[in-house]
Symmetry: C2
Subunit: 185 residues, 2 copies
DNA sequence: GTCTATACGATGATAGAC
DNA sequence: GTCTATCATCGTATAGAC
């Protein structure tokens, strides 16, 4: 019986988190006020604080959401029967970048430099992505290039590292270049 | 005669900006208050506002300072008679990374996603670094690998792009991993 | 659970003396 | 130019009704 109510609760949480992500994408993590999120979500202060302890909690939820979304895309390729070659993999990852989420993603990087909670989320998600990238490249080496599994895992490491770096750089580029719809400082 | 006073003025500005960078490295761009910078610089509110219009102005000065410092290191290699090979160049750039400045650098990336003024600074400095990287790689191709200048400039572009990306990724890694001396959220 | 209204604290910026 | 003291604003979080 708590099943259904829990599901509804999760739905509300997601609704609020998504509104927060939109606000953060527009105005940044710190220049977004609770009032902004209230307006964007169409809810009220009381409702939001019933689902999130405080603003820091909301920031963490937003960080998890955007990073998880990026990991999700990658997971599909890793599980594929015919994994793409590294260059192709990178191209697809770049093509899947959403500018708004890229902005929030880069904001979380900045926040991670001084906020331990966000730092843990970023490190965790980065590690997870790197591991999936490694799986994907290993799969390609074994299934397409017919390497020995043991040797493939070995040589996949630097390749995965490079793909990760190039992807992050592209994410940064997109986040900074994509037009921001105003709200200077 | 305004010469000397201008120099003193610049010195004060630099003193304040450096204090700001230290604060930003510790607590982040937005969680640093003017009071923090006052304490760190050993000056007063009045003095700081005599040299900087407002906090946004200080953030921009800090962004310029850390990015310019990173560009300076690179400039030396580009001008060298025997430019290092790309791998070596990257290794040296990475070795020259200062964790505290890396943190502020990554913070400016986040800020650049929503703050047009900082965005312009980041884009400008990134372009400048990429150009210097390109010069450096071109120099290596011509002077060490004995390529034709025209062809060298052409093939230097993707190499410079790759080195830049790997450097930025390493900067991110350093900024996030380097121990922050507390001040959660 | 959700709303409105509000208290409280923090912070950017200024005024005015020296 | 630099200081101390102060103001005005803004934003988080809570209280209490429904």
């Amino acid at each position: 019986m708590p099943r259904l109510t829990d599901a509804r609760k999760e739905l509300r949480r997601a609704q609020i988190a998504e509104a927060a992500v939109r606000c953060f994408g527009r105005n940044g993590l710190e220049r977004t006020s609770i009032a902004d999120i209230i307006a964007e979500s169409g809810l009220s202060a009381g409702s939001i604080y019933a689902h999130y302890r405080n603003k820091a909690d909301l920031v963490q939820a937003a960080a998890r959401e955007v990073l998880a979304e990026r990991a999700r895309v990658l997971g599909e390729y890793a599980a594929s029967d015919t994994p793409p070659a590294p260059d192709e993999l990178l191209a697809r990852l770049i093509a899947a970048i959403d500018p708004a989420e890229a902005r929030v993603g880069v904001q979380t990087w900045g926040e991670a430099t001084t906020n331990p909670a966000v730092r843990d989320i970023v490190v965790d998600m980065t590690d997870r992505m790197r591991a999936m990238l490694h799986d994907c490249v290993t799969g390609w080496l074994v299934k397409v290039e017919h390497h020995e599994p043991a040797e493939a895992r070995e040589s996949a490491t630097p390749i995965a590292h490079r793909v990760m770096a190039l992807y992050q750089a592209e994410l940064l580029y997109t986040a900074v270049q994509s037009p921001t719809e105003e709200t200077a400082s």
